[in-house]
Amino acid sequence: MRSTRSRVARVLAGLVLAAVASAAVAGTALAQEEPRDKAAAGAWDGSWRAGVDDSARDVVSGETMVVVAYGAVWAILFVYVLRLAADIRGLRRETEDLKRLVAGQGGKPPAS
C-alpha cells in the first residue's frame, strides 16, 4: 500500500519536475523578443556585443526591474522553504504510519 502510494508520489514529482524543465525552456524562448535586426537576433557570433541592443535599454524602468527581481528572489526562496516544510510534515506522517505498523505487529514502537 505504502510502496504504491510512494511510487505514485515519485512519478508525480518527476512529472512536475519535467513540466518545470519544459516551462523553463519555453519561458526562455518566449523571453526572446521579435528581432528588429536579424543580424543582432541574439546568436553569438564571437563578439562580446552580440545580441546587445543599446537602443532598447532605456525603454524599461529600472525601478520596475529591481522590484520584480527582488520580489522573485523572495518568492522563489519562500516556495522552497514551504516545500521543505511539506517534506517535514510528510516525514512525520510516515513516522506515525511506521509506529502503527510496528504496534500492529506486536513490537515496540520506535522512539520518534
Binding site: R7, A18, A69, V81, L84
Partner: protein, 236 residues
C-alpha cells in the same frame, strides 16, 4: 549527531542567513551608490552574482557527492553522499531559478535584450537543465540503487560545464562584465554590498542544503525501516 544538535545547527544557520540577508539588503539599497550608466537597475547585480556563485558551488558539491556515491562501498558513506547530492542539487536549482529570473531583468536594462546566446548564459541554462534532469531522475528512481547511480553519473557530467561557466568571460568574452576579482568593482560601497550579498546567499544556501540533507537522511532511515517491516511480514 543527535537530533538536538541537528536542530540547533539548522536554526543557527537559518538565523545567520536571515540577519546577513537583511544586512546585505541594507548595504545594497542604502550604502552602495547608484551606478551612473544603469541607475537603480544595477542593484539586481548583487543578488544575481551572489546566487550564480553559490549555484555553481552547490552544483560542484553535488558532483563531488555523486563521485563519492559511485566510488565508495560503505553503505553509510553512500547514503550520506546521496543525501548531500540531492540536497545541493535542489538548492542549486533553486538558486539557478533566481539567476535565470534576475539575469534577464538585468540584461534588459543593461543590454537592451532579455537574452543573448553568449557562452556564459547558454552554459548556465544548460547546467540548470542538467541538474533539473538529475532531480527528475532521482524522483523517479526512488530508493533504487541503479537509478541513484545513474543520477550520480549525470551530476559528474556537470563539472566541465561548471568550469567553463566560471572561465567563460575570460576565455570567450561575451556580454558579461569584467570579472569582479580582476578589478570589475572598485567603489568601496559597492564592494561592501557585493561581498555582503555573496555571504548572505552563501548562508542561505548552507541553511537550505543542511535542512534538505537532514530531511533526506531521515527519509532514508524511514524507508529502511519500512523495508525491514515488509521483509519481516514476508512481503516481496
Amino acid at each position: 549527531m543527535g537530533r538536538g544538535w541537528t536542530r540547533w545547527i539548522g536554526a543557527a544557520l537559518a538565523v545567520a542567513a536571515l540577519v546577513t540577508m537583511l544586512a546585505a539588503l541594507y548595504a545594497i539599497f542604502f550604502v552602495a551608490p547608484l551606478e551612473m550608466t544603469m541607475g537603480i537597475a544595477q542593484k539586481i547585480f548583487y543578488i544575481h552574482v551572489g546566487s550564480a556563485m553559490n549555484m555553481l558551488l552547490a552544483f560542484g558539491v553535488c558532483a563531488l557527492a555523486g563521485a563519492t556515491f559511485l566510488a565508495v562501498r560503505a553503505p553509510r558513506a553512500r547514503a550520506m553522499a546521496d543525501a548531500i547530492g540531492v540536497a545541493t542539487a535542489e538548492v542549486g536549482v533553486t538558486l539557478g531559478a533566481i539567476v535565470l529570473v534576475t539575469g534577464p531583468l538585468w540584461a534588459r536594462k543593461a543590454w537592451g535584450t532579455w537574452w543573448t546566446w553568449e557562452p556564459r548564459l547558454t552554459l548556465s541554462l544548460m547546467v540548470f537543465l542538467l541538474f533539473l534532469a538529475y532531480l527528475a531522475l532521482r524522483a523517479f528512481a526512488g530508493s533504487d540503487r541503479f537509478g541513484r547511480g545513474v543520477a550520480a553519473g549525470l551530476s559528474i557530467m556537470g563539472i566541465p560545464a561548471i568550469y567553463f561557466i566560471h572561465f567563460a568571460v575570460e576565455r570567450w568574452g561575451g556580454a558579461h562584465p569584467q570579472v569582479v576579482y580582476k578589478g570589475g568593482l572598485t567603489v568601496p560601497g559597492m564592494k561592501l554590498a557585493f561581498w555582503l550579498s555573496v555571504l548572505a546567499v552563501s548562508l542561505v544556501t548552507a541553511a537550505l542544503a543542511y535542512q534538505r540533507a537532514v530531511i533526506e537522511t531521515q527519509r532514508q532511515a524511514i524507508d529502511a525501516l519500512f523495508l525491514e517491516l515488509d521483509r519481516r511480514e514476508g512481503l516481496p
